[in-house]
């Protein structure tokens, strides 16, 4: 009986990501233990491969929690990575970091100004800027890939290690910790949730709603900019296609992680687990030796089930 009442008290929507993550992990651990799934190298690879998506997911949790959305982050990733790579062709690492992060912040702020002060819907603004900056990324280097040959940069943002821990793992942990503290334990986080829950009530209670909207979209741009730097470091090159295929993965990770599409509710830790779950699915389905089309079908069905369970409870 005690167990039953515990289950009844359980918040299904908040817990689905933990159960889903654990179930998928145990399934692959059981079926693929002879295929290298549980090796430290493979599990580390999953964290490395998902680092950029996890960091983008943190920005998106803030945007969705404030009742906004950013669809343009894939293009921001490409522009930031290319800006960093081009800046480092003739300058030190710091130029690349400033150019990459700066591009992300500026594009995010551009989205934010249109949404917050011109009162345009973020869905349409960022859909338009998705195309706009994808075009700019293509024209920046005439579709050419730009190599990144600054070893300090590639170590810091890509393949390096600190005390034996890969730099991408450190970036992931640092970003998730900072994001979680900002989201759960700061006035800004509380204001974001208040705006997403009921913007009018937030306004009446003295919260500067447009400023919060500007800030969440700028934060989204900044996280996409950082993701661009991580891609450039990891691939030791930048290309206009970087980030193009991340949109659905990141949105799915965030929703599966317990963030509401219509604002007022979210979780940074959930987004991290959602992102790791996506990476684990990609990894496990390849190791199972499935055909590519079968991998896509299975992944689609699992994401659909996870999103359905997450959202069903949100609507209650």
């Amino acid at each position: 009986m005690a167990a039953l009442s515990w289950i009844k008290r359980l918040d299904l929507q908040r817990s689905v990501i933990y159960f889903g993550f654990l179930a998928i992990f145990l399934f692959f651990a059981a079926t693929l233990h002879d295929d290298g799934f549980l090796t430290t190298r493979n599990l580390t690879n999953i964290v490395l491969q998902t680092a950029p998506a996890t960091i983008m997911a943190i920005g998106l949790v803030f945007a969705l929690s404030a009742g906004e959305i950013d669809l343009s982050f894939g293009s921001i990733v490409a522009v930031s990575a290319l800006a960093a790579a081009v800046a480092m062709q003739n300058g030190p690492m710091v130029f690349g970091v400033i150019a990459g992060l700066g591009a992300g912040v500026l594009i995010g702020a551009f989205n934010g100004v249109l949404v917050a002060y011109l009162r345009l819907p973020s869905f349409l603004v960022t859909l338009a800027t998705l195309g706009l900056f994808a075009g700019i990324a293509r024209s920046m280097t005439d579709l050419r890939s730009i190599p990144v040959i600054n070893d300090t940069f590639t170590g810091f943002f890509g393949s390096g290690k600190l005390l034996g821990v890969p730099s991408l793992v450190i970036w992931t942990v640092a970003a998730v910790a900072a994001g979680h503290v900002l989201y759960r334990h700061s006035r800004f986080g509380a204001h974001v949730l208040a705006v997403g829950d009921n913007a009018r009530a937030a306004q009446v209670s003295g919260i500067k709603v447009p400023r919060i909207r500007l800030m969440v979209l700028t934060l989204c741009g900044a996280t996409a900019g950082l993701a661009g730097l991580l891609y450039a470091g990891r691939l030791q090159a930048a290309k206009y296609t970087l980030g193009e295929s991340d949109l659905m993965t990141v949105i799915a990770a965030v929703i599966v992680g317990g963030t509401a599409l219509n604002g007022g509710k979210g979780s940074i830790i959930g987004a991290l687990l959602g992102s790791l779950m996506m990476g684990m699915l990609n990894n496990g389905l390849i190791l199972m030796g499935l055909k590519v089309s079968d991998q896509m079908i299975v992944r689609g069905v699992i994401i659909l089930v996870a999103v359905a369970v997450s959202l069903r409870d949100t609507r209650r």
């Binding site: 290298g36 296609t241 030796g289």
Partner: protein, 349 residues
């Protein structure tokens, strides 16, 4: 710096190939070796089978072409007792290609067959596999700075020059050896299409003196093919033929000819496509399609990797032949190129 130098060297060579090319040349200027000479002989089968090698096929995308390459490689691997432990598609995403390589390495494959997405981003992506001593065989592209035979077993690709040449010869035959031609080429620095397009032009200019190229137009976006063809036909309404760089834009050119009520201008293009082939078997504008032998590409990739593993010398640059597909040989051509039967629409017409 070495990465930049190598990239520039490859780009410079591609430029040379594009301007000079009388035959297909590798991305590092290597001479082409016919794929038919790259064979794991029956006498080696038992020895290779005993080694119980494994292979991963890490593709750039999914398509009929990739399916046929996979089939060719898988059949060869099966003959040699080699297990295929992973098959992936990067969807043209360089970051996904890197992740796919890392994931596949967890299964410790002895062989990786792959199409590197581009020389620059692929250099770091394949580094771990290279360091692990995996036999790497690349399709059509080479990561910057990789050296043969130290870093990879072979590059295998289409006989690109022959594809362009055969397209020129087929168009000339359809036009009765005389007339004017429009040349729609791929307007991008891409090794595969650049060689094919230039081979067509060179062949028309050198081998068909009574045919002249009167209109040249580059295309970067296949969706613009119809308007490009319309503009070309407006200036040159009596064009005898049009070469289109590949089948996707050729569909737009065909639409333009139909809209103009033009049934005299002939089209040749490269790579199989059902709508283009359907027009051809119905006696429309399309005179011929030149295709590659994708299944043979896969077989040759697998054979190159195995020969490298058993310590035999493998040529650095291997090419598979091209096939001219016309209405009369569409069934056989489809089968030889993609290793599947042609769509029912082509055989019921």
């Amino acid at each position: 710096m070495s990465l930049v130098k190598h990239t520039l060297a490859i780009l410079a060579l591609l430029g040379l190939v594009a301007s000079a090319g009388a035959e297909t040349i590798g991305p590092g200027g290597e001479e082409a070796t016919p794929s038919s000479t790259v064979v794991v002989g029956d006498e080696k089968v038992a020895m290779v089978q005993a080694k119980r090698y494994s292979a991963a096929l890490l593709w750039h995308d999914q398509s009929d072409f990739v399916n046929a390459v996979t089939a060719g490689a898988s059949d060869e691997f099966e003959r040699l007792g080699i297990e295929v432990v992973a098959v992936t598609s990067a969807g043209f995403d360089a970051a996904k290609q890197r992740s796919d390589i890392e994931t596949a390495l967890a299964k410790n494959p002895d062989i990786i067959l792959s199409l590197p997405l581009d020389p620059v981003t692929s250099a770091a992506a394949f580094e771990e596999a290279k360091e692990a001593g995996v036999a790497l065989t690349f399709l059509s592209n080479l990561p910057a700075g990789y050296e043969h035979p130290k870093d990879y077993a072979a590059i295998v690709t289409d006989d690109l020059f022959q594809m362009g040449k055969q397209a020129a010869d087929a168009l000339a035959e359809a036009m009765g050896g005389e007339g004017t031609v429009g040349w729609i080429f791929h307007d991008a620095a891409y090794y595969v299409t650049n060689q094919r397009d230039n081979a067509f032009k060179t062949t028309i200019e050198n081998d068909h003196p009574n045919i002249s190229i009167v209109a040249e137009q580059g295309i970067a976006d296949p969706a613009r093919a119809e308007e490009i063809a319309n503009a070309m036909l407006l200036k040159h309404p009596d064009l005898g033929g049009i070469y289109v760089t590949w089948a996707g834009p050729a569909e737009g050119v065909l639409a333009a000819l139909r809209a103009n009520g033009n049934d005299s201008t002939k089209i040749v293009t490269l790579d199989l496509s059902e709508p283009i082939a359907l027009d051809m078997v119905r006696g429309g504008n399309v005179a011929a399609i030149v295709a590659d032998e994708a299944y043979e590409l896969g077989r040759a990739m697998a054979a190159s990797a195995v020969l490298d593993l058993v310590g035999e010398e493998v040529p650095p640059f291997v090419v598979a032949p091209a096939i001219t597909v016309k209405a009369a040989n569409v069934v056989e051509g489809w089968k030889r190129s993609l290793n599947i039967d042609p769509p029912a629409s082509l055989t019921s017409n």
